[in-house]
Point group: C2
Chain length 147, copies 2
Amino acid sequence: MTSDPLAFEFFNEIGIIDQLIGTMLTNALPTGMTKAQFTVLNHFVRLGLTEKSPADLASAFQVRRPTITSTLARMENAGLVSIRADPRDARGKLVSLTPAGRDMRERCITALGSIAPALEPIIADAEMQAVLPTLRKLRVGLDKLRD
Amino acid sequence: MTSDPLAFEFFNEIGIIDQLIGTMLTNALPTGMTKAQFTVLNHFVRLGLTEKSPADLASAFQVRRPTITSTLARMENAGLVSIRADPRDARGKLVSLTPAGRDMRERCITALGSIAPALEPIIADAEMQAVLPTLRKLRVGLDKLRD
DNA sequence: TGATTAAAGTTAGATATCTAACTATATGAA
DNA sequence: TTCATATAGTTAGATATCTAACTTTAATCA
């Protein structure tokens, strides 16, 4: 990694970009909303899901189970999702969006749209498109390396 | 952002890559060491620094002041850095590496070197090199957008 | 069938990071 | 010189994330 300064710099840039974007997004989002919570809301709407288990969500977002437990607990508390026992598997639970969750997702989309103009001068779509395949490949490769 | 699904996917890939790499690095590092702490150690050694203020470190790593306060407190506690009052400015402090900090940095470098082979099949140096200018530009642009 | 192994969630304890608010010190302008 | 503003650090309180360990229930297999 430092015997390979290139990789070092590469992942360092990625880390800083993620951090800066993360803060920017969080600030743009409605009060109390976070990237992680928006990701959950958006996942349900984008894929047209009705119910999904916490374990499935964890695996979809590449985070560990305790992370999802924690995020879902906050979202349930905020009335954004509803969680019930899985009638077919007493170990499991099923998560679904509440109407408030759907509304919040819409508000987030609007809020995020408003910061897009600030990003445009920094990086063109064509450039993102050019880089995306590499990022995808890297993400898939790293994911396979886990466990 | 969702009106611009491209940017959305782009930053999403970056976030997942950062998270997966972060976990991988943390696991490879000596017990107790983290990416953030290694970054501090490495910064001093790479740049041949003797002393630097917490504020300078925060700005070098693009994190807020309280973040550095917290990380340095742990590192001082672990004997990796030493912190003294700035004799020229009573508000400030000066941070330096201890011998143990230097040793730890060496151990980290060795540990990180051992995971490089796992990364090689996933992404070639040439590809990282091809993408790096875009990442750098994006990082610089996002950084300018702050405050 | 009974015992072992696997899977889903949770809890506990850490670290990193952020914003807001506060203290202390320095700078600058009137 | 004095008051207003800016800077350095810290503290408090949140969220996200991880690993380790534990409980409950399911699945497998001998």
